[in-house]
């Protein structure tokens, strides 16, 4: 996984609640197993019926290569599709800032080196206002080790993140590798269950 330490670039405002993963990654429009995920990002919403670009924020020239997406409540709700994250990283977005972020989407972010930041209250009001005013003209920056978002005017916003999530983003740790350090415990668990609840450890088709 690509490690995350700091990031600087345009912050794109989509100050709406409940932006769902069907919107972020409209899979019906994807062709084949490995489409251009970046091309798919918000594709339904940023196209007119005839396929031409509309006035969606993502079509503005200053957001050709956005780095940060700023939303409102419950970002990433709905389907568990990880391609929603791949679509965001596909255009270079490596940080989402929202008042709240949906559970499964947040896990998918952490597994792809995309930093999910939750900010609330007055701080978020102010950050959203600055992002909208700046409108991509100057870069915002994010410093994960310091847990700070910095606006172009120098205003800073500190954010909370669990130490474990922070470490795994900064170090770009291999998830499976981390877990397999516990292989002995997994084996012991399976042994124990085989003895106490054997039906859990076997899924046998009794018709065969």
């Amino acid at each position: 996984m690509q490690p995350f330490t700091t990031l600087s670039g345009p912050a794109m405002p989509m100050i709406e609640d409940d932006i769902n993963t069907d919107q972020i990654a409209p899979l019906q429009l994807a062709k084949g197993l490995s489409p251009d995920w970046g091309q798919l990002l918000f594709k339904r919403q940023r196209m007119n019926a005839d396929g031409t670009d509309n006035d969606h924020v993502l079509n503005k020239p200053q957001y050709r290569k956005p780095a940060i997406l700023v939303a409102n409540e419950n970002f990433g709700c709905g389907s568990s599709r990880e391609s929603a994250v791949w679509c965001l990283t596909g255009v270079g977005i490596r940080c989402v800032i929202a008042r709240s972020i949906a559970d499964i989407f947040r896990e998918n972010c952490l597994l792809n080196g995309l930093l999910p930041i939750e900010l609330s209250g007055d701080a978020m009001d102010r950050l959203q206002a600055l992002v909208s005013q700046t409108d991509g003209a100057q870069p915002f920056s994010v410093d994960l080790p310091a847990q700070i978002v910095c606006a172009p005017n120098g205003e800073t916003f500190s954010f909370e993140i669990s130490t474990s999530d922070k470490t795994r983003l900064i170090e770009g740790l291999d998830e499976v590798g981390l877990t397999m350090k516990h292989e002995n415990e997994i084996v012991a668990f399976e042994e124990k269950i085989r003895g106490s609840m054997p039906w859990m450890q076997e899924a046998r088709d009794r018709r065969l």
Binding site: D18, Q23, E82, S100
Partner: protein
């Protein structure tokens, strides 16, 4: 003495706790892992790239459901765009020694319908699917986790999922249900009250007399919509209704193991003195059949209700309501009943089990699909299809003018190409009414099978109680 009782969630979680990683995440063992064709091929690919193997192919099963055609006589290529997914799923499963319920297999179907039906999922077991509706199987008292592709790959390699323990929310479903009101209506009423993010960070236990009285299929429908409340896992404590339902299913334990399992399952309830982080009461006594009017699942009214009027709301609440009303082509403050319908879809992991089809067929019987309406009934599994046909339901649907499909996800997410036309009003027994979910510009109203069937035969949104 003095020790506090435990919630059912904590009992199941603790029973599956393998260990704690150095980063504080808990390793939760996954008893049954079910994959599907839309996301598993990517995970198989990444697993091979990393040189890793599927740790427990014997506890892993592959289902072809998302990208398959549901047209009668289908094969791999009937939906050409999906063929690559179906083939990659077949090859990846074979390479990894995972049994695949392929097209043509008598047990093919939607994973969340097939896994309970085969007894693959059991009370008190953990279950993972790379799909947010994994929560469906909570209806059997299982603890399920919908997950992404990297998590799926992680479970394939390790058989555990790494999570922080969620908080616990109990939704008490009070009262009793009236005529033509079922699991879907209860679920929509809960979402209306809790909101689409109210369950975020929680595992939800559905309790109370209404949850107890719901048949198993109704509980599966209720739990299916847990993710639409913002929560990853939801369940109903298992009881005799569930145990009887599971007994003799192909993968259920038998003989002495059945007795042993049953004794354990009878301990799966929330202790009386348990404390929840949050509780919500929903009185279901006077619940009308529910319907979504808007573009997210909490925008719900009774069938006898009216579309909201944004002018009566505070200014900062108006914009999303106005946008939804405009997208849905509605009149503020007008009754929902009577709006003309272009398409009806009965199916999906939410409402495609035999009792759902029976409810719909009962209404359709002796009637015709209204002129200009396209109506589909798509069974949730090949087994449901055979059971329905044995009861003559297929004839009822076909005689009325419905398309009677093969099993698959179909129009729910449209990832098999099944979509409505722009501007078309669709009554759908599925789970998401998002903008463009069922096709560009499609106006989806979520309903249970009774309202869907009523609209199919009248051509309008209709209060089934008046039919």
């Amino acid at each position: 003495m003095g020790q506090q009782g435990r919630t059912l969630f904590d009992k199941i979680w603790d029973q599956h706790l393998v260990g704690r990683r150095s980063d504080g995440r808990e390793l939760i063992y996954i008893d049954r892992h079910v994959l599907h064709d839309l996301h598993a091929p990517h995970a198989f690919g990444k697993l091979a790239q990393a040189g890793r193997k599927v740790r427990r192919p014997d506890l892993t099963f592959s289902m072809q459901d998302h990208s398959v055609s549901v047209q009668p006589g289908r094969n791999d290529d009937t939906y050409a765009e999906g063929a690559a997914f179906v083939r990659a799923m077949r090859e990846g499963s074979a390479k990894n020694g995972v049994r695949v319920f392929d097209l043509g297999d008598p047990d093919q179907g939607i994973s969340h319908v097939v896994a309970p039906e085969l007894g693959l999922v059991l009370p008190g077991a953990t279950h993972a699917v790379p799909d947010s509706h994994a929560c469906t199987v909570g209806g059997l008292g299982a603890l399920a986790f919908g997950c992404g592709t990297t998590e799926l790959e992680h479970i394939l390699a390790t058989q555990v999922v790494t999570l922080f323990r969620p908080k616990r929310l109990r939704v008490n479903l009070l009262g009793s249900l009236g005529a033509d009101v079922a699991g879907k209506d209860v679920a929509l009423a809960v979402i209306a009250k809790l909101g689409v993010a109210g369950g975020r960070g929680f595992a939800i236990e559905f309790a109370g007399p209404v949850a107890r009285a719901l048949p198993v299929e109704g509980r599966l429908t209720l739990c299916n919509l847990t993710i639409e409340m913002g929560s990853r896992s939801g369940f109903v404590a298992p009881d005799d209704a569930v145990f009887n339902w599971i007994k003799d299913r192909p993968f259920a334990p038998d003989g002495a193991q059945w007795d042993q399992a049953l004794a354990y399952w009878r301990t799966l309830f929330t202790d009386a003195d348990s404390v929840f982080d949050k509780e919500l009461d929903v009185d279901c006594s006077h619940l009308a059949p529910q319907i979504t009017w808007g573009t997210e699942p909490s925008q719900v009214i009774g069938i006898d209700g009216r579309v909201p009027d944004p002018s009566t709301l505070e200014a900062d609440k108006r914009t999303p309501i106005e946008r939804a009303i405009s997208y849905m082509g509605l009149e503020p403050g007008a009754p929902i009943e009577g709006l003309p319908v272009g398409r009806v879809f009965i199916g999906s992991c939410t409402n495609s089990r035999l009792p759902d089809l029976e409810i719909a067929a009962h209404i359709v019987k002796g009637r015709k699909v209204a002129p200009g309406v396209t109506a589909w009934a798509v069974p949730g599994s090949s087994q449901v299809k055979r059971d329905a046909e044995a009861r003559g339901l297929d004839r009822i649907f076909k005689d009325a003018g419905f398309m009677w499909g093969e099993s698959g996800c179909s129009m729910c997410a449209g990832t098999n190409g099944d979509m409505g036309a722009a501007g078309e009003r669709v009554l759908s027994t599925t789970n998401r009414n998002f903008e463009n979910r069922q096709g560009r510009g499609v106006r989806t109203h979520l309903v249970g099978p009774a309202l869907a069937a009523a609209a199919a035969v009248t051509g309008r949104i209709t209060d089934v109680r008046k039919l």
